[in-house]
Point group: C5
Chain length 293, copies 5
């Protein structure tokens, strides 16, 4: 456990990193905390939540922490929880993972608890920005792969995991948006809160786009494969339709019957070659009419 106390002009901030259950219980806090809140603060997979009692506001948010290549598709895998205990003159934050943006805030100046909370919330949301950007780039890459004329097969596996990640990101963001709508702030902070809400809406739209693009890409890919199947099968059919009859004909005159008049004809061989050319032409015309070739 790492405990950092920062004193601002008219309030103080206690940040606790990676506490154990024991740590929290023996923690000498200047205020008492509902047991439920402490439990939630420790539960690493807890969804974002907002709750207020008479003395404090309790908020849980999740910051994006997965690396781009992780196949992380569970809430606890792609994100880490930060719990806020917001008092009149104090802020207590509890989180398991270390966050650079939290340390950075130790050095800044804030003239109200609210200002500090909003600034931290803003940073939490910004952790989603770069992963979403990377996902959008990956989708563009997948698009290029599938629509490039000579492209190789796309990775359905990557598509599946990118979509699952975007879906989960969207769900976390939707719950976060719901929580932000319950925030009540002083007039001077209204615009900062709105800015945060704008960011969430923007990210929700982006994750939605990734999900929709994934669906559309997979459907396009299935359609493409069906079309390629058709092309290959048509080719096979054309080859077979030309050679099966011809091979049959030459097979006939390869039979060893004692009495096969055609074999004795002066121009039998040439006549049969002509017949085969004729058969090929007829098949060719028939295929052309049927629009198969």
């Amino acid at each position: 456990m790492k405990k950092t106390i920062t004193n601002f002009s008219n309030f103080h901030w206690i940040d606790i990193e990676n506490p154990t259950e024991g740590d929290l219980k023996t923690l000498d806090l200047p205020f008492d905390i509902n047991e439920n809140f402490l439990e939630d603060a420790l539960e690493s997979g807890h969804l974002p939540k907002f709750e207020h009692s008479d003395k404090l506001v309790f908020i849980i948010l999740r910051a994006y922490t997965a690396t781009p290549d992780e196949r992380a598709i569970e809430v606890g895998q792609i994100s880490n929880k930060i719990a806020f205990f917001v008092y009149e003159n104090a802020l207590l934050t509890i989180h398991r993972a270390p966050f650079d943006f939290i340390s950075a805030h130790f050095e800044k100046t804030f003239d109200s608890v609210e200002g500090l909370v909003l600034s931290l919330v803003n940073e939490i949301l910004l952790t989603f920005e770069s992963p979403l950007k990377i996902q959008i780039d990956k989708m563009d890459e997948l698009e290029r792969q599938i629509f490039l004329k000579n492209g190789r097969n796309i990775s359905i596996e990557n598509l599946y995991y990118e979509k699952a990640k975007a879906r989960l990101t969207k769900k976390i963001l939707l719950i976060t948006q719901n929580i932000l709508n319950q925030f009540k702030v002083l007039d001077k902070s209204v615009s900062d809160l709105q800015d945060i809400k704008d960011t969430v809406l923007d990210f929700i739209l982006k994750s939605d786009e990734i999900i929709d693009d994934s669906n559309a890409l997979l459907n396009s890919y299935i359609s493409f494969t069906a079309q390629k199947n058709n092309d290959v099968m048509r080719l096979l059919t054309v080859f077979s339709a030309f050679f099966l009859p011809l091979t049959f004909i030459v097979g006939v005159y390869g039979m060893n019957f004692d009495k096969m008049p055609e074999l004795r004809w002066q121009y039998g061989y040439f006549i049969i070659l002509a017949v085969m050319v004729a058969v090929s032409i007829i098949i060719y015309i028939w295929f052309k009419r049927k629009k198969i070739i």
Copy 2:
């Protein structure tokens, strides 16, 4: 029927396990109960509900009871009903199946009916936790099977039943969530209720994830199969395209016509071998250009 009466400091609790209709009617209860409520309490497949009359609050909830391998996809198969009759100074619970967590509550201490009810409701919800975890693990296993390079066919049947189970779990949880939103509790219990609501939201998200993953997996699988079909068909086409023409050529010179000049040529055999090599090369080049091989 098994009837357990527990007396707490300022209220008492009557728990009735597995009653028959007759049992309930002859039951000597210290309070009278609306007939509709008694009927509902006996109907084993009843959905979660919340209703309050002037004297009591009547709640039905469902605890998850299916074993992981059961192909249980009906409300009455995956879960069992627990009915609560909540009075000012008394609680009556009726359920068909025995539940360990109920027996465990006989030994605990509660200072209000509300406290006991919330604790039981919490336990009811926690019966969903482990089955959801098992389902998530099964989905991960199915994911591995399908995306593993040398993997065997996935079990579409398992996928179907896992999805159906998750869908049903989600529906029960959504109705439960709706009921929890109708609960009105004293200030000191607000946080406990919120904790229960958080749990429901978390489980709903999890069952939702299983459903979404199932859909995505099946689509990925269909796409994979289409791709494999294409690969196999291309292989067949390549084999046929090479050997059908060659077999035809050797068939021609297997004919028994008396007069076939080529057969008499000194190097006829070698010339025809050369022709066949040339034909193969041409087909090969053509296939390369068409990007079929």
Copy 3:
């Protein structure tokens, strides 16, 4: 037209079965009825509705009347309308089809119009119970058919019609639920009304399950078929890949060129048999590596 008047202690009930337009106009009713209501009461395909004027409440509900095997997929085919004109001291019901549960009510005792109406509404809803049960059983049968290892093809036609029926049932039930939410009843009937609402919710959930299962089953079936296609095609490819080259080789030595050195070799035949065995082994190894067999 069949008209039945029943007198209860403090109200009376007029039930009219299968009236013509003329019947209704010449009907000697002790109260006057809005023309629109009469029209609606006669329109056999009318959707459930709720409307109240100053003197009466006008309700239309639909009872399920299709037999299980009917391919009835229109509102007017799967259900029959019952119109209620609810007055302070009187009830007028109009319906085209005869219903056993209505006749049964002539013999019962009710102490208020409301009590009678709720009892009839309850019976109307219960007409949906058995058809839904039968549909759920049919879905289970279809599930068994598709997932049974040696099962035959499922009937896509049955699946289509079961789904259409369930979808329509759900839509009627949703409109009915909406209407029930507009009912206003005396305190003593609140619980009866809630019981009816519970039933509707339960049936909506069930029809929803049938629809979801149908979708999932069809997708599973498509996936299954794609997999079977792959299996059959692989088999064909394996057969062709083995025999096409071999047949070509034997074709070569079936040619009748005067000068074919191999034909004169002492062990030519045995050498060529050995070559063919070698070719087969090579193809076999290649297939094994490519995971095709």
Copy 4:
């Protein structure tokens, strides 16, 4: 432009058919009209709308005008706009296309503007009735085609256009329903308005059914085709698996090696025939076991 003025007992109605922009501007109307309203009244593709200023209520509705076989899938193609300017003592209607039901209203009697408007609105909605009926019949025909055992291929094109038409009809009806919910009428007209709302709900349900049926039909058709593909491919595989080995065997004994012992055997031919029968039987048994035939 055709202008018809009808005087009723306590109000008058001006109907204008097919006006040009110029017509409207020079129109000598007994009341002045907001410019925006006039513009909307002229814009032929305008969606249904409801707006009220202090002096008048302005309504735009759309009547269905496409013929059943038209591939009309844009708002302006399937329907025509009618604009209502509703004053205390006057009604002005503007529309481009002639409508029989409007002319018919010139001869009727109405005792209020409201009564006339509701009657016209009712007629506008009834223009959707017959096209929906025709579409439902077409869907039934498509269903018969696809599910008939010996049926021919369905027209995917028709399915596509019927669905697009139903989707557009539903959207227009949904906007219309939204507008009707903004109508405020006198007590005596409440029931007439409700009747119109019932009609809209009924039509929305019908168009919804057509859309759902289209989706289900196309999926059923894809599933059917996949199944037929499997049947045909299995047939091909069976044929190939039987004849490829046999043709290879006869090819072997068609080779012209000088030294092929079997060819000299007394019963070589009959032995080889027996071998081929044996091979066929083995393949047959293998296929039976694999459930391919």
Copy 5:
């Protein structure tokens, strides 16, 4: 940066085109602006938003700027932002791209800030009109391509990008609609605002139609391809089923066994030709019965 100041009778308008961050900070504005607003005004990809403080209303809208052939499928690619700072007696607009309709407004006359803002908003929305029209035409072209009997393959790629563009357009329009619903205007402008709202609804419907048509088209195309696959495969099967048995038969009599009685028969050759005709007829009848040809 280009700064244009226009003075109207009772207010003035400052339009700033393509400012840098520095420009904005050193800008000598007659009023002070919230820092958050300035930041948003500079962020080029910002979604539409509406916010009001005590002194001003801050609005961001996006005008469509992509050319028809661009594969622009991100908010910042298909549209450009215009920020409005609306004061009692002044309007400040900030945008990066030059817009003809803005310059055109410098010459017009407006008697209120509100009038100018609504006129600009209207023009912003009209930038969506022509791209939507072009997209609808492209969809019609794609429809023709797929449903034309002899049509070539459709471009799945185009379909994918048109759909993505329409989806994004719809999302921007939905956010815009949400913002317009927050506008509060004077009575005399109500109708102008409603006109703008009508336009947005119309465009949302249109983009929705493009999305729905894309989905339906891709599904139709997949269905078509499956059907064509079936046709080609049936053809292949028919060819193989006819020639494989015949080729086997002629292969039998091409064997070189010393003792093959049939070869010596006077009419052996003709008998075997007759047998082959018979085999062909049997296969033909069998195929006819199985409805394969």
